[in-house]
Structures are given as C-alpha cells and as structure tokens.
Amino acid sequence: MNSQQNEQSRAKIFSAIKAAAPTVTMDVKTIQEEALEILKESEFARPKLLSEDATQALVLRIEAGLVIGTSCEKLSTLADLPHSVKQFFGKHSLPHSLKVQGVEQLEKLNWQGISTDSDIQQDNTVGLCWAEYGVAETGSFVVHSSADMPILLNFLPLYLIAVIPKSKILHYMDDYALIANEIAKKAETPRNMCLISGVSGTTDIEGVLVQGAHGPEILHLIIVEDQ
C-alpha cells in the first residue's frame, strides 16, 4: 500500500470519527484532566494485598500458590546466590549449568563449579536474570530489554530464576505504571517492558493446565536485601 492510500485511509477514519461526534471538545487540557480524574478511582478499585509490606505481600502470594509454577526465597546477601542456585539444581536434578544474564551484579559473583553460559536455544536449560522490579499485587517480576537483557532469556529456558532487589518491590501495577511514565518522560523507554507473573502455561486442551507450554515450566524468585 503506498503512502497516498495510507493518507486517504487515515483521513477517512478521522473524518468518520469527527462526523460521529462533532461536538466533542479537543481542548487537550480538559481531556487530560478528565483522564486523570478516572485514575483517582484506582485506590478503591484494586484488590487488597495480603500484607501492607510489599515484599511480604509478594512472598505470601507465591506461598499461597497464587502464582503458577512459582516458588520464592529471601537472601540477606547477594553473595549467597550461587549457593541458592546450586540448591535449585539439586532440587530439580539438573546439571550445574545455566545462562547468567550479563549484568555486573550477577557476573561478579563466585560461580565456581557452575557453567554460566549455556545455550538457551536448547530446551531443558536454566536462565538467571536480574529483575528491574517486583509487583506484590500480581506476584510479578519486571524486566526491561537492553544491551544486557535479552528478552528471550526469560522465555526460552525451561527453568528460570529471577533475582529481585527488595527495595524494588512495588505494591501495585499502578506504581509500576507511574515509574514507566517517568522513564518515558526521560525518553528512555526500553523496547520491551515485561511483567512476568508465573510460568508459561496453557489450558487449550480440554481445559487442563499444563506448565511449560513454550517457555519456563518452573520459576524461582529470589528476593535479595539491598547491599
């Protein structure tokens, strides 16, 4: 389709909307005020959390089995992470091999006895990533695409471990939307912002839930006290 046809279709759509609602104001300030007014209702239109403390609420949600295929643990120091990862390997009878996301926080740790660069395109692998945020309301961790964060790291491995700094755990999705808005104001919006709340699942055959449809079957969240 050439640009002229594209312009014609665009003009047709806009004129049809105008014709349908000819009296509507186009004062941007009024529209923005009306849009903000709606958001004031969010406080009364979202679910109560399991705890007032965001970290505790997230942990309780996972422990209650409300986040599909997900377990979690808390670490007081990041230096203990390799040990936790070894325990994860043991629990699931896995070889000591994973793909560690290329961020300084994870790369600088002592990974002795663990291969850290497995090929995630193969099935049955383990991925380890550093989350930007956690969200208590949904039991989610959030990743942003970047030079250090291949999005596929979160979607190809059969097992996934995500590390969330405790200070980055938010109460509600609305809190994350505010942060996303701030990032946008600085023109730093990443290509992808993923809220991941459990493992890849499907109920497409006879309504039976199966984990590991295309991506992770097992997800383990590790909440780390900030150093």
Binding site: M1, Q5, N6, S9, K12, I13, A16, I17, K18, A19, A20, A21, M26, V28, I31, A35, I38, E41, S42, F44, A45, R46, P47, I68, D123, T138, S145, S146, A147, D148, P150, I151, L152, F155, M173, D174, A177, N181, A184, T189, P190, R191, N192, L195, I196, G198, S200, G201, T202, T203, D204, I205, E206, G207, V208, V210, G212, A213, H214, G215
Partner: protein, 474 residues
C-alpha cells in the same frame, strides 16, 4: 472444516445441534470458566468499582478517539514504529502481506489475535507463497485441523484430546505417542521451538494501545507473543482503533478485569509492552516495527450509536455465560466473533442483512450484561439491531406475518382472549406428561426441544379469577 457463513445461521445451528458431543465439549470449558470467574469476582470485593473504572476508561477514550489516535500515532512514530491506516479488513491484510513481501519473507509466525482473523489474514497468507505458523497452542491445533476458531479465548475448545492426538501424530516432526495432555503440549513445544527461532516476520495483535507512549501491549499465558515477536527481524502489529487507552495507568484497571472475566485467573502470566524496534545496543528484538490501525466498521458503530460495543476488551465472558452459545458453540454463528458480543459486532463488520438472525438467537436473559467487565448493555444493543432489522425488512415474510398478526390481535383484547383460550385447548391436545413433543406450526421449536404444557387456562383468566377471589376475601 469449511467455515460457516453468517447468512446460513439456521442451517449452521441445526448442524451444531445434530453433533451429539458438541454441547458436552463446549460446556466442559465454559462451565469451568463460569465457576472460576465467579470465584475470582468473589475474591475481589472491589470488582464493581473496578468495572465502573474500566468502563470510564473506555468511554473516555472512545469520546476523544481522534485525539488519542493522533497522540498514539505521534508517539509511535517517535519510537521508530511505522504507522499504517486501514479503513477495511482487506486493506489491512494487504498492508501486512506487502510488508512481508518487501522483506522477502518465507516464514511468518503469528500470535493469536482475533483482529487477524477478522481482517482475513489467515486466509490471505494461505493463498500466498509464505508459510503461516500459528504459535498459540489452540491456534496451532485449529491450523493443523483447518478449522476456524470457535471461541475468542479458547479457539480450539471444540476439539477433544483424541482429535489433538491424531493431529499431532500426523503433522509434528517428532510427535509423542502418549495421549497424556502434558506430553501433547511438549510435542507442540518441540515442534514450534525451531519455528519461533527461524521466522522472518512476527505478527501480533494488541490488547491495548497506549496513546501517551505509542506502545502496544500483548497479554498471554503461554508467552508465545514474545517468542513470536523477538527473534524475527520485523514485528507487525494489527490492532483495531478501539484498543486505545490514554496511558499504561489506564490499562491497569482493564488488565485487572480482563483475566478475571476471561479465565478466572487474577492476572495472565505475561503482559508485555512493545515500544517500537530494538534499540541500537539491544541484545535481541526486531529491527523494524510496523503497526496497522484498523477501522473495519468501528467508526460506523460510533456513527450508529453503538459506541458502547467499542468498550469490549474481548474477554469472552459473555459467551461463557450464554445459554445459546453453550448449546450451539461458536462455529454456528458463522463469524470470527460468536456469542452475544459477536451477534452485535458481526452485523457491523459484515452487514445486518447477512447477520440479522444472530441478533434473534438470544433469550435476553441479561447474563451477558451482568458479567461484562465493562458494562456493555448487550441485550439493549441486540434489541436495537432487531428493531433495525425489522425496519429494513430483513425478517423473513413468515416472521413478519406472524408478528403483524400478533400485533393486530394484541390491539383487540376480546379477540386476543378468545384466540388465547383456543390456543390453550389446542396445545393441551398435543401434550403428554407435561410436555409437547410435536404440534403443527411449531416444528422450528420442537425439532430440537420440547414445549412445556401450558396451564389449563390463560393468564388473563387466572388474573381475573385471582382478583375476584381477593376482592371477595376483602
């Protein structure tokens, strides 16, 4: 399976009712969805507030649709997305195919999008030189079977496990010989893995378009959208113009409503916001991003006072709770969108002349409106379409004759009462043990279900008797 046509609705219904297991198969999924939704709503006491907020978000965006469309376009362009406009479904499908051909694509992966079905994208690819690979498990199943979707959330709900076993054994390169559902899903995982990684173009729909950032948002449980979009060099989004919301903060209330209403889960596993092509140093992602904004009847709905239907967030709750859908399934509607929402949408996407019978396939019991997460008054909209259909004389002559005869009698109380009394006597002749299995002039009803035996006297007779007894008692 050959796709049904909306104009053949009566025939489609007869065909569906003749399938002995269809009702059982449909109810297995819809009944579960109904129960799980009820539990999710019970666990969310703020649901009514959320519903009201969700409705306001949609109404606000629809009211200022041209403002938000222009804002979305500006911000999407700033992110590096190429924005295309399509007035019709054919235009939209052509735009998508042209982009694929410009990139000399051979393999195209697609994550589930009802809009893609609506604009005929699946057929357009099947008639092209390119290979279309559906990546949502249900869409994968119906692609192998050659079926149209039968539900907007579970498009393969009409297919049993036994059907899937046969299909996977026939088409998968490394099929399972187990009949366990877990093993069947693993078989699909193996089959689709290399296809994800070797695709030339990834096509997705969008659950929400964020005006203030130019982002599109996908919502899945399988994670197939991200796997569809990330490896290929080009990402194409197809989205209806009604998917707009002002910002991510406005999408949040709708996300709370969407999954609870669709499956009863509190949230889907994967919510991803896509903001244009990959940044220069990104580790992965498409180098090009296109978005095709589609009208295809939506502005017509605005013009015809059906804007409430543009609130729809495609959760499928209305069909999960519809007594008609549960009996006949999705294929009978002969449209991409079945059930109550489909009966309102199809006349606008196609034409009322072609799809007027669907507007009558409704008991007006109001359950669809009760469970709609954005308060769409579906029964009111269906009644309005029925009125239009009557005014435009789309009803068959026999129906018009019956309704006009009834109207004539209803205006003459004595004649009405006389004929009602005769009707009761006539019906009694054919009733057996409280039910009428056959009666002249009613085969359209009694072919698939029995009529209940009427009371011994008419309503008016009983009313007068009761009134007399009351006044006598006083």
């Amino acid at each position: 399976m050959q796709a049904n046509r909306p104009e053949d609705f009566s025939k489609n219904v007869s065909k569906a009712l003749a399938q002995p297991d269809l009702k059982k198969i449909i109810r297995r999924t819809t009944d579960k969805a109904e129960t799980k939704r009820a539990e999710a709503v019970a666990n969310f006491p703020e649901f009514e507030n959320a519903r009201s907020q969700g409705q306001k978000v949609k109404d606000h965006t629809i009211k200022y649709m041209d403002h938000y469309l222009a804002e979305f376009e500006k911000n999407a362009l700033a992110q590096g997305t190429v924005v295309h406009w399509a007035s019709t479904g054919e235009e939209a499908a052509k735009i998508v195919l042209d982009i694929c051909r410009q990139h000399k694509a051979k393999k195209v992966t697609r994550s589930k999008s009802m809009l893609g079905e609506e604009i005929g994208l699946t057929h357009a690819f099947d008639n092209s030189e390119m290979e279309r690979i559906e990546t949502d498990l249900a869409e994968h199943i119906i692609q192998l079977a050659g079926d149209p979707p039968s539900h907007i959330v579970w498009p393969a709900m009409h297919r049993s496990r036994e059907d899937v076993v046969k299909l996977f054994r026939e088409f998968h390169t490394d099929p399972t010989y187990s009949e366990e559902i877990t093993d069947l899903v693993r078989s699909a995982r193996r089959d689709l893995r290399t296809k994800f990684l070797t695709s030339d173009i990834g096509i997705s729909g969008s659950n929400f378009l964020l005006a203030d950032s130019g982002s599109s948002c996908t919502v899945t449980n399988e994670g197939n959208a991200e796997l569809t979009i990330t490896p290929p060099k080009v990402h194409i989004v197809t989205a209806g113009i009604e998917k707009l919301v002002p910002s991510m903060a406005h999408a949040v209330p709708l996300l709370r409503l969407l999954t609870r209403s669709a499956t009863g889960a509190e949230i889907t596993q994967y919510i991803t916001f896509h903001n244009g092509p990959k940044r220069p140093n990104d580790a992965d992602g498409p180098q090009e991003c296109h978005i095709v904004l589609v009208d295809n009847g939506r502005t017509k709905m605005l013009a015809e006072g059906m804007e409430e239907m543009l609130r729809c967030i495609r959760c499928g709750a209305c069909m999960n709770h519809c007594v008609v859908y549960k009996h006949i399934g999705g294929h009978a509607y002969g449209s991409v969108y079945p059930g109550p929402m489909g009966s309102v949408l199809t006349p606008h996407l196609n034409s009322l002349e072609v799809a007027n019978k669907q507007t009558h396939a409704c008991t007006l019991n109001g359950r669809c409106e009760d469970v709609c997460p954005v308060n769409i008054p579906l029964p009111k909209l269906l009644r309005s379409l029925r009125a239009q259909s009557w005014q435009k004389k789309y009803e068959p002559l026999t129906n018009r004759f019956v309704v006009q005869s009834f109207a004539m009698m209803a205006k003459r109380p004595r004649l009405f009462q006389l004929l009602s009394s005769c009707g009761v006597i006539f019906m009694k002749v054919f009733s057996r043990k409280g039910w009428i299995k056959y009666m002249p002039f009613t085969s359209g009803w009694t072919r698939n279900r029995d009529l209940i035996e009427p009371e011994s006297t008419t309503f008016m007779h009983q009313y007068k008797k009761m009134k007399k007894a009351k006044s006598g008692g006083a």
